[in-house]
């Protein structure tokens, strides 16, 4: 990716999987930290320490929301330190990966 060094900037990609019912709380926290962009995928299913979550189960619909967030390292640290103690309450997990952001006309990280 040598050729692309001008187009790509190093960033962190944070991926939350939380109980969909806690989504509003997570978003509020993120917005308060001046996060400028995120993507939400709802109605995800899964399995974890609290058992299975099936968004299509007839009598016990349980949904996860996947939130993807690309941001600079400094903001990423802030985000992780803030959300980390809340993870249990949100019923979920959080992964962090290195990534490159493709520079575009709009800055939303």
């Amino acid at each position: 990716m040598v050729l692309l060094s001008e187009v790509l900037i190093s960033m962190k990609r944070i991926e939350f999987v939380i109980n969909e019912e806690a989504l509003q709380d997570l978003i509020r926290l993120l917005r308060n930290m001046d996060v400028r962009g995120y993507t939400i995928i709802k109605k995800a299913g899964g399995f974890g320490s609290t058992g299975e979550r099936n968004p299509e189960d007839y009598a016990l619909e349980q949904k996860n929301a996947v939130v993807i967030l690309a941001c600079e390292e400094s903001l990423a640290e802030k985000v992780i330190l803030t959300i980390h103690p809340k993870l249990r309450e949100f019923g979920g997990m959080c992964l962090v990966t290195d990534c490159k952001w493709t520079v575009g006309p709009a800055v939303s990280y």
Binding site: E56, D57, Y58, A59, L60, E61, Q62
Partner: protein, 331 residues
């Protein structure tokens, strides 16, 4: 009662759904379709009930409310004792399962209504209030039983008060219950000509829509049957015996205490015999996360619901008829 009374279309569609599941058909109704029909059916039953109640006696309505609370409180305790004493089920699972049996299944109630309509039997307006009320008290008793179980187990005591408040609020703001109460209130206040305008949608096509609902429920029940093994023989038996115990309570109250007609007794019996799969499962998941959902869901949807639909309703009706012809109410 002849065999043809079993050939109510709604029940046949239930059987069709179970059959589809049995032969592993790829038949699948969109999940939203199910939600939509449930919304429609709840409003329909509420409106109809409300309109009837407008012409009914308040004192009698109050008796029905009392009876609903009594069922919601007594039945879970009976269930808990059986599960603990005979089945040796661990306390928290016992608490979660019990709560379901103090509550009701609107689907069973509507099938019973279709059954009575099919054989031309009339019924009182009060059971629909009981339907609306009974979902909630059992949830509270479930929480109380779980709290008691936790103390017995000596584990960390949860914030019982906070949870109770939370569940109480949930129970009163629960969408299905609200829809039922709300449309009951609307059916109550609107004038006859107003009702006539919406009757074709909410009454005329009701029985047909119920068929589609029950076909879907049949598939749902069919899916759960495969989990019988993981649930164990005791619990499966419990899922058939407990509705019979509930029915015994129901028929007694319906005939001797409330003094209803055969149709009304049948509906009260069905309410007491049925077992929730709408409001109680999510409440128990929240309040008793230690309990295994596949236990209460399999029992409720895979055992008790189909038992009531296929065997229970005609049986309760026959019993109600017998009782009605043989004994006088207590007053």
């Amino acid at each position: 009662m002849s065999l043809s009374s079993l050939l109510v279309p709604a029940i046949l569609f239930f059987a069709l759904g179970m059959f589809a599941c049995l032969i592993k058909s790829d038949l699948k109704f969109p999940p939203d379709m199910h939600k939509m029909i449930v919304i429609y059916l709840l409003i329909g039953i509420g409106l109809h009930g409300g309109k009837e109640l407008a012409a009914a006696n308040m004192g009698d309505a109050l008796s029905a409310v009392y009876a609903a609370f009594a069922f919601g409180i007594i039945l879970p305790i009976v269930a808990y004792i059986i599960l603990r004493a005979i089945g040796k089920i661990d306390p928290l699972n016992a608490a979660a399962i019990s709560a379901h049996y103090g509550s009701v299944s609107a689907g069973t109630y509507m099938t019973a209504v279709a059954f009575l309509a099919g054989i031309g039997v009339t019924y009182e307006a009060y059971p629909v209030i009981m339907l609306a009320i009974m979902e909630s008290p059992a949830i509270m008793i479930g929480l109380v039983l779980a709290g008691y179980s936790r103390r017995v187990l000596g584990g960390e005591s949860k914030d019982q008060k906070g949870m109770m408040k939370h569940l109480l609020i949930d129970a009163f703001t629960n969408g299905s219950i609200l829809l039922l109460f709300g449309s009951m209130a609307i059916g109550w206040v609107i004038s006859e000509p107003s009702y006539k305008k919406i009757e074709p949608f909410f009454e005329l096509i009701f029985m047909g829509a119920l068929c589609i609902f029950l076909c879907d429920m049949g598939m749902e029940a069919g899916k759960r049957i495969s989990e019988f093994k993981s649930v164990g023989i005791f619990l499966v038996t419990f899922g058939i015996v407990m509705p019979l115990i509930g029915a015994a309570f129901g028929i007694t109250v319906g005939h001797f205490m409330l003094g209803y007609s055969v149709g009304g007794i049948t509906l009260v019996t069905v309410l007491a015999a049925s077992c929730s799969y709408i409001a109680v499962p999510p409440a128990m998941r929240l309040a008793v996360p230690e309990a295994n959902p596949s236990f209460y869901l399999t029992l409720s949807l895979g055992v008790t619901f189909p038992f009531n639909i296929v065997v229970g309703i005609p049986m309760y009706y026959a019993a109600a008829q017998y009782l009605h012809e043989t004994y006088y109410p207590w007053w």
